[in-house]
Amino acid sequence: MNTDPTLTLTAPQDLRSSPWAQTSALSVRSMIALWRQPATVIPSMIFPLFFVALGTSSFSRAINLPGFPVVDSFLNFALAGAIVQGVLFGSITGAAALATDIENGFFDRLLVAPTARSSILFGRLAGAMAFGAFQTAFFIAVLLPFGLGIKSGPIGVAVMILGGTMTALGVGAIMSAMALRTGSSEAVQGSFPLLFIMLFFSSAFFPRQTMSGIYGTLANLNPVSYLIEGFRDLTIDGLTTWAVVRALGFSALLAAIGMGLSLRSLRIRLGRQ
């Protein structure tokens, strides 16, 4: 035992880390995790391309159906669905990792440090945003050699990458809210079928104008339809104000809703402790 009864305690109170630096460091950690666990991210990169390949080879003549938008190829039509599908599925990975942090105690390690509470969430979401941007660019880059044409040009591609990034933020935030509420990675991963149903009952694979009955009604009510159509307008219609508003507006709205939900869930979780 050190016998000095009034030992000088060094309290590093003057060390200050900015929330920005903390968010940045935690987002790097989140991206490292994605990079080092390719098995968790590859499906969200491969499956959308598989659906595009399947659709393009099987439904190429569907573009002549009444109600189908004027489009050079089914591939151009399918790109938007692939981007949103990839981002939706990819967002599960980051949120599941957040839940795993809660399960295994790493979340507590962050809480017991002078970490800004919002940085814990934003760090994770920044990683999801970077992955969303990468996925969008990846799908475009992979499909270009197969005849993909984007009428809005490089600016449209940039808008799509921005839209993909915001969509990843929105969906990632909603999934993170679930992770914070449940603290269970299984619960987060269990949302996969729900996301798939939302995608299936949307205009991801066919335009809403060609749908009828309950399928058409659900697609009309489904916000994912409008998200996809924003990206699709940029691909097949060109750089119009309406296309940009739809691509960015819906993803921004989704991001705002997601952030609200996830910050509320974070407050609730911290309040429980």
Binding site: M1, L9, P12, S17, G105
Partner: protein
């Protein structure tokens, strides 16, 4: 860095934490008082579920106390939580470390979280890896580390900002004896450098070896507190443990009452605090022999922390190592 002089880096008064509400409410910590001196290693000893970790979680700001007050490094854990966090190092149970990152990466992340100047991140990470003997493994992913290596890295992470108070929640649980001893040495070195350490453990030997003072907790209450030597001295006489054939158990128990107070033991064994110490053993054997009770096993133990625990709670420390 700012400095302050605090004679009691950990102070808790009537600390209570309840989980649930109404009839289902569980009082996990039930009025704990603690006064840890600067520069000491304070052991918090108790079985699983006794309230050790809940107390530590309150002291480290992870849980809000239901009632009562606590100050760590001079700061109130409820109203000055951020200042508490900047003053303490914490290694929680199970060494929660991201297996996908390397030791160096985790240390550098920790340096950012605590706001260390960027130009010293690499040096500090290197120093700490060297300190805990992980220099060679620093660039390996933590997923490849053994349990002992993870614990040592956990300790290094908790030291990134040179905290004055260190909380170690069951730091050696699940470790092999070699790794445990190596961690003990590091904890002693830290304490020699002036760090106040609060360590929870369910290992009697660990508390005995490391702690200057010990608080024994059971069912959320501190039942005994003091230095290991003082606590053992309070027990006084050594414990004689005797195993006899189960058919003779009642008769043997009656005989033993003449030699001292009965002490709690494992089932099937009788225990008595021998008033006459070792010199009383022969008399016990003689009386048992006269009663034709054959002794299967006999053992005389000097007072241990297990005896202290048994005296205070009426039962032995389950799962504890003697």
């Amino acid at each position: 860095m700012t400095t302050s002089r605090v004679p009691h880096p950990i102070l808790a008064e009537n600390l209570v934490r309840t989980f649930g509400s109404g009839d289902d409410a569980v009082r996990a910590v039930d009025g704990v008082d603690l006064q840890v001196e600067a520069g000491e290693i304070f052991g918090f000893l108790g079985p699983n579920g006794a309230g050790k970790s809940t107390t530590v979680r309150m002291l480290t700001t992870l849980l809000r106390p239901t009632s009562g007050t606590a100050k760590v490094a001079g700061w109130d854990v409820s109203t000055e939580a951020d200042k508490v966090r900047r003053s303490i190092g914490v290694a929680l149970q199970d060494a929660a470390i991201d297996p996908l990152m390397t030791g160096t990466e985790l240390l550098r992340l920790q340096a950012v979280l605590y706001g260390l100047p960027r130009n010293i991140h690499a040096t500090r990470a290197g120093e700490l890896l060297e300190r805990v003997g992980l220099t060679a493994a620093g660039d390996r992913r933590v997923g490849t580390y053994s349990g002992g290596m993870r614990r040592r890295l956990d300790l290094a992470l908790s030291l990134i900002h040179e905290p004055s108070v260190l909380f170690l929640d069951e730091p050696t649980t699940g470790l092999d004896p070699m790794s445990r001893k190596s961690l003990w040495e590091e904890i002693r070195r830290l304490n020699d450098d002036g760090t106040t350490v609060l360590l929870t453990t369910q290992y009697l030997e660990e508390a005995d070896q490391l702690a200057d003072r010990i608080a024994i907790i059971d069912n959320g209450r501190i039942v005994s507190q003091g230095s290991p030597a003082d606590l053992k001295a309070e027990v006084g006489s050594p414990t004689l443990l005797i195993s006899v054939d189960p058919t003779h158990l009642a008769a043997a128990r009656e005989i033993l009452t003449h030699f001292g107070e009965a002490r709690p033991t494992a089932e099937g064994t009788l225990g008595v605090g021998l008033v006459d110490g070792a010199s009383g053993v022969s008399a016990v054997i003689r009386r048992l022999d006269e009663a034709s009770i054959p002794v299967i096993h006999l053992e005389l133990n000097e007072p241990s922390l297990d005896d202290v625990f048994a005296e205070a709670t009426g039962h032995r420390l389950e799962g504890a190592e003697k």
